[in-house]
């Protein structure tokens, strides 16, 4: 192997100053022993000088049997920086909740150290582990070692992208369904849809344990599964007194007056919650977490359609199912039947009717939510909208034609 080239990087060196950990330090660390990382440093310095990136558009590489999981990348300055002439990235499906043990994490490090630049993203925006920078001839060996070690690739292209979730029942008292398990279930049930892209465009699942939505599911997933409850908030009156009232917490200003539906009253001693008017926003629970907890009748709200601006504008996911139970399946039971049925119906319809590169949210905007609901056999309910239409352009579907018999008067 060639010796890594040493580049002068006065601009990048500036980014090693300062308190926050530096990505330049990381690249330099690998550049000391890996020619690929060294040339990356050189090319990046050039980008900083010229204020432009030097990567060619795309690249189509992969492993046999899969239609995604690897992002091809070639340097546009391969003559100057030959070691990054190929610089593909591999998406490795992360474990639910990004939990690791050192043994398996070290295995990943060894595989990557032996076959690539040694640089990673922990993690990519969708959630995958990203192996940043390798050559085409290394892809199959890396894939082979990954799968032998119990790892697999994530999704790329017009597929189900790698599902991801919050820490959920792994640590959080507000996990209102098992985000880790649902994420794993979706990942395993839909391996085919992940590795062999069958859809008009990408489809992302993100599982958040509660309406705080620590994985930004409502903004970043085609299907957002956000934990919620439907019965009364649990109030521990003794803890309310000892942890908050006695310690001088201003429950009136900090909690009661910030409730979006003003469903709470506090008389100095008792917190009275009109649960029928509570919209489960989590604020009071966030603030008074030693004394308040979500209700016991737990499940999830399913919202659909969020995406970034390209093409038709950014969207947040909107309510399709206000409440569904997602209890841990018992032995022999089919897991999450209502959720799976909904997914199949949506994918069927969107797969058939979505245009090329049309996200499901854009298709819904194009054909109308009402029509979409009809096709996936879900009844329209007011929970799905902020308010009914204000414009009167109603596409009536039933009307009498001239030769229809009139109803008897």
């Amino acid at each position: 192997m060639a010796e890594p080239k040493k580049y002068d990087t006065p601009l990048l060196d500036e980014l090693e100053k300062g308190a926050f950990p530096s990505f330049v330090t990381e690249i330099k660390r690998m550049a000391a022993r890996k020619p690929m990382a060294a040339d990356l440093l050189g090319q990046l310095e050039k980008s900083y000088r010229d204020k432009i990136g030097y990567w060619k558009h795309g690249g189509l590489v992969g492993v046999m049997g899969y239609g995604g999981g690897v992002i091809g990348r070639y340097s546009a300055k391969a003559d100057e920086f030959p070691e990054v002439s190929h610089f593909h990235t591999i998406r490795v499906n992360q474990p639910s909740g990004w939990f690791y043990n050192t043994e398996k994490l070290r295995l990943l490090c060894d595989i990557w150290d032996n076959h690539g630049s040694g640089l990673t993203n922990m993690h990519g925006s969708t959630g995958d582990i990203v192996f940043l920078g390798t050559r085409t001839e290394e892809l199959e060996p890396i894939f082979s070692e990954l799968t032998q070690g119990g790892w697999d690739l994530g999704g790329s292209g017009s597929c189900m992208r790698t599902p991801s979730c919050c820490v959920g029942p792994g640590r959080c008292e507000w996990a209102l369904y098992d985000t880790l398990a649902v994420t794993y279930q979706l990942t395993m049930d839909f391996q085919d849809e992940m590795h062999r892209p069958p859809f008009p465009y990408k489809f992302k699942f993100k599982m958040a344990g509660c309406p705080n939505d620590c994985v930004a599911s409502i903004a970043r997933a085609d299907m957002s599964i956000i934990g919620t409850w439907r019965d009364a908030i649990q109030v521990d009156a003794a803890a309310l007194k000892s942890e908050y009232i006695d310690k001088g917490t201003d429950i009136q200003s900090d909690v009661v007056e910030m409730c979006p539906t003003r469903c709470m009253k506090f008389d100095g001693e008792t917190l009275d919650i009109d649960n029928a008017n509570c919209t489960k926003c989590m604020h009071c629970i966030n603030v008074l977490h030693h004394a308040l907890a979500p209700g016991k009748d737990r499940g999830a709200c399913i919202l659909v359609g969020s995406k970034a601006p390209i093409v038709e504008g950014a969207l947040l996911s909107s309510v399709i199912v206000p409440f569904v139970k997602l209890d841990t399946p018992k032995e022999g039971e089919d897991p999450y039947p209502e959720l799976m049925e909904l997914i199949e119906k949506m994918w069927d319809f969107w797969g058939e009717n979505g245009k090329n590169r049309e996200r499901i949210g854009e298709m819904i905007q194009r054909i109308g939510l009402g029509n979409f609901l009809e096709e996936i056999e879900v009844d329209p309910i007011p929970e799905m909208i902020v308010h009914p239409r204000t414009n009167p352009y109603i596409f009536f579907e039933e009307y009498f034609e001239d030769d229809d018999e009139a109803e008897t008067e």
Binding site: G58, G67, Y74, R196, P198, P200
Partner: protein, 105 residues
């Protein structure tokens, strides 16, 4: 520009092996490209897929969406991957001489 050599011919390809000049495509080119995608011999089923792709592209200027491809040829997606292990985009589209499908976003 990288060059793909076979049977004494030389064709311009990009670094992923997609031909750069659609006019040079013919059955021999297809067969040679197929070898680079793990397909040593093109069977009738392979040709059905390749011809569908090429005809669709010449008619509409775009590659067909995957669902349409499966419906029109009668092949399940699983079969498509059996025919072209590197997939419809990297494998079949390359063999059919279509432009390279675009990447990561």
């Amino acid at each position: 520009m990288p060059v793909f050599e076979f049977d004494g011919h030389q064709i311009d390809v990009d670094e992923d092996g997609f031909i750069q000049n659609p006019d040079v495509w013919n059955d021999d080119v297809a067969a040679a490209l197929a070898k680079t995608e793990g397909v040593d011999d093109l069977t009738e089923d392979h040709w059905k897929l390749v011809r569908y792709l090429r005809d669709y592209y010449l008619q509409f200027g775009i590659a067909p969406m995957i669902r349409k491809l499966c419906k029109a040829t009668g092949f399940s997606l699983k079969t498509v991957y059996e025919l072209f292990p590197s997939g419809p985009a990297k494998g079949a589209c390359k063999v059919a001489g279509l432009p390279k499908p675009t990447g990561c976003v």
